[in-house]
Amino acid sequence: MMFEVVNMSFALPEMFLLGMACTILLVVAFFKKSGANLAYILSQFTMIVSALLVYRAMGGTEGLAFSDSYIKDALSNVLKIAIYLINIAVLMYSTSYLKARDLFQGEYYVLAVFATLGMSVMVSAHHFLTLYLGLELMSLCLYAMVAMHRDSKVATEAAMKYFILGALASGMLLYGMSIIYGVTGNLAISAIATAIQAGDLNNTVLSFGLVFLVIGVAFKLGAVPFHMWLPDVYEGAPTAMTLFIATTPKLAAFAMMIRLLVEGLGDLQPYWQDMLIMLAALSVILGNIVAIAQTNIKRMLAYSTISHVGFILLGIISGTEAGYAGSLFYALTYALMTLAAFGMIILMSRRGFEAEEIDDYKGLSKRSPWFALMMMIVMFSMAGIPPLVGFYAKLAVIQSIVDVGLIWVAVLVVLMSVIGAFYYLRVIKVMYFDTTDEAYEIDAPTDMRVMVSANAVAVLALGILPGSLMTLCVSVFS
């Protein structure tokens, strides 16, 4: 019976999230007037307590639970804490956005907490069904979130696109899973790994199933050529929802990729390596080149996300522990930078004015030198210029592919990052070198200002002292 108790504790954060999600749902239903405010406070409380729950249980018993369908390990701990913490900032930014636009409703928080629960489950899933469960829970919440702005045509269109393509991707993933199940006779990832390791399976059929798994993962991450939904959804969704979609779900998708490809099908590395090289190379090329042509900053960030996804894949491609650690580092810093970038957009926007065009940032350095500096830090970091954290992320993944001899890939991606530097520089150019007659003040609440500043300063601080985060990432995979 002792054993069962330990088992339950593995899923404690998820149980708490579920309980709180239901509570918030009830609160929203019963308190019509103050429901949204209460929901906001409760969801922030949920995130903080969940992060503490994970943190407290760190270093304790780790391993599989619930008939090998659930795992608690260093990776899940790190990713969960990152997801909860980033969501605190996400919720704060979105609240400021929603309040200014009559979208401030409790439902958003219910969906957010449920989506977080989905991500949590994805991160800890060690079984095809658990994984799928988490994925769908998260995705459904995200579809609904995008559609929340019912009066907006673009938002509805974005939601439809997201839903249909997302459903297609889930279908692909399920098909792949069913093939793998057919060959190995197992749904638990650890059992699949053992079965493949033992050999005497039909590799052709396995690799056939693998293709569909890779497609499913690539869809969720937004790697080329499965990226079509990403720019439209990013641009069409209200910025608060884009912010949500762009940050933590990528961390969950990263976990899904590690669980499926590395932990489950690690022995098929030669097969998936080539596929991922194609995906990564295409993502980095297309993302960086197409971003140049964008005038809408959300769309530009969407293409920049595509290229970042390419970089995240690089570390996985190398198939080494250092590479996985590099990818994890990249994914975490990507989430941090994207959070700051969309935070800036929300900060700049106000009722009746969305700072979505790059030209809206004209002359920002004169109007608000501090936030121009913050935005510059984020842009340079995304471009991978030291001493900002984005550089070390690129360094880590490129080192890992150089170490396995894929120098041509390394050369290709660095050349593309030179091209990519151009569109980040353009944002800085607009802020610092251009002038404008429009002189409106930034109109954002204090908590928002402080949080965006802290966020961007973190990008700089982690750039000057990246050692501890890197050590953490390395320790996850060794």
Binding site: P387, V414, V418, R426, F433, V474
Partner: protein, 502 residues
Amino acid sequence: MFFDYPLLSLVIWLPILGGIAVLLNGENSFTRPLSLIVSVITLYLSIGLYTGFNMQTHEMQFVEHLPWIASYGIYYSLGIDGFSMPLIILTAFSTVIVVIAGWEVIQDRASQYMAAFLIMAGLMMAVFAALDAILFYVFFEAMLIPLFLVIGIWGGPNRVYATIKFFLYTFFGSVFLLIALLYLRYVSGSFAILDFHVVALTLQEQIWLFLAFLIAFAVKVPMWPVHTWLPDAHVEAPTGGSVILAAITLKIGGYGLIRFALPITPDAAMTLDWLVIALSLTAIVYIGFVALVQSDLKKLIAYSSIAHMGFVTLGLFVVFGIFANSATGSGAVLAVEGAMVQMVSHGFIAAAMFLCVGVLYDRMHTREIAAYGGVINTMPVFAGFSVFFAMANAGLPGTSGFVGEFMVILASFQANFWYAFLAATTLILGAGYSLWMVKRVIFGDVSNDNVAELQDVNQREFWMLAVLAIIVLVIGLWPAPLIDVLHASVEHLLTQVLQSKL
């Protein structure tokens, strides 16, 4: 007393923190004095690097070694030798000059301007002092950010084009450097530059690495044909930006070749020395002609910078030819020392020339040579300085411009007569474009009303130019202190270069 605390770190971080302080202080009457104080203290501290320097050894001095990113084996590792120490002092000195030069001229966002230069100074000194490859790369790239902003915010009408071109050009070069460094780490298992020096590499590996280094540093030097960003950047940059570009950032290219390309890939350098020599001679001769036909003052000086930097690369790579012809290789020492002296001297002369243009530009707001004429009639003191610096630029004996060029030409004779012959054409071309410019701008009758109304240099400008003139003269007449500092490091570099890694 200087050994008691980490002097190098102090020299690097003082201007960076000082720059941040200036930035936070904002726009008020403290901005300029505070910047000046920070830059002067930095210069004072950097002199300590000279007085405490041991000239007998090629070993790194003032070494600091702390773990930085432990899990990737990256260290905060600093140290200087004879190559880096003079360049660090040059950087500290140029920063003081830049702060003074921008004192009255910069009215828009002055605190950001001063902060950018102070931070840049720290970053550039760190580039010269870094002994860890990633640390080097971080500073090497980080340096671009302030310079990008300086050109873009305070530059001329076409500044956006110029600064983005500058940024992308240099960024393009340096990504190859990053791959090369990562590959070297893969081979050697460490990011320490001194470990890279001794790691064994096949000829093919060396050639690829060498080409990567060459692209990265050739863009910075800049060598023909990747020089096109420099005239644009110089023309659009504010005076301070031009001074720093010419005095320091170009030197980082030469320094990179000395620190990376020659010792890490000596065999490839030997195999491909013809390439670098050909590019250097093209820079000296062809770019010399290009400078001759410029109608814009800053462009002319920018092209003359490229021609002068050709001597640096020539001096560094002619050593293989010298050793092929004579076993003793005394000429090789001369060549490398000449290259270093040329770097330092060009740092002062080009800075002075750009300051002179800045003085004129502040009064007339044009850089067109045709807009001037007869400046000597209204600005006699200024005319004296400009003629002197133009002469130094042309390599007049007795000025520092002569020493480096002469050493390199002399050494080139031992490699190949024609190298020396072509290099020596600079004495004619350099005199041609420098003096012709002087003739058109300074001498003659007052050409128009604008020139007639010019005011001569004020106190601030006078002392700024006077200090530079004195230094140019001192190095020209008595270069021994500089050469003594270099000597041990140069000899060590030559032994590294001669030792095949195959």
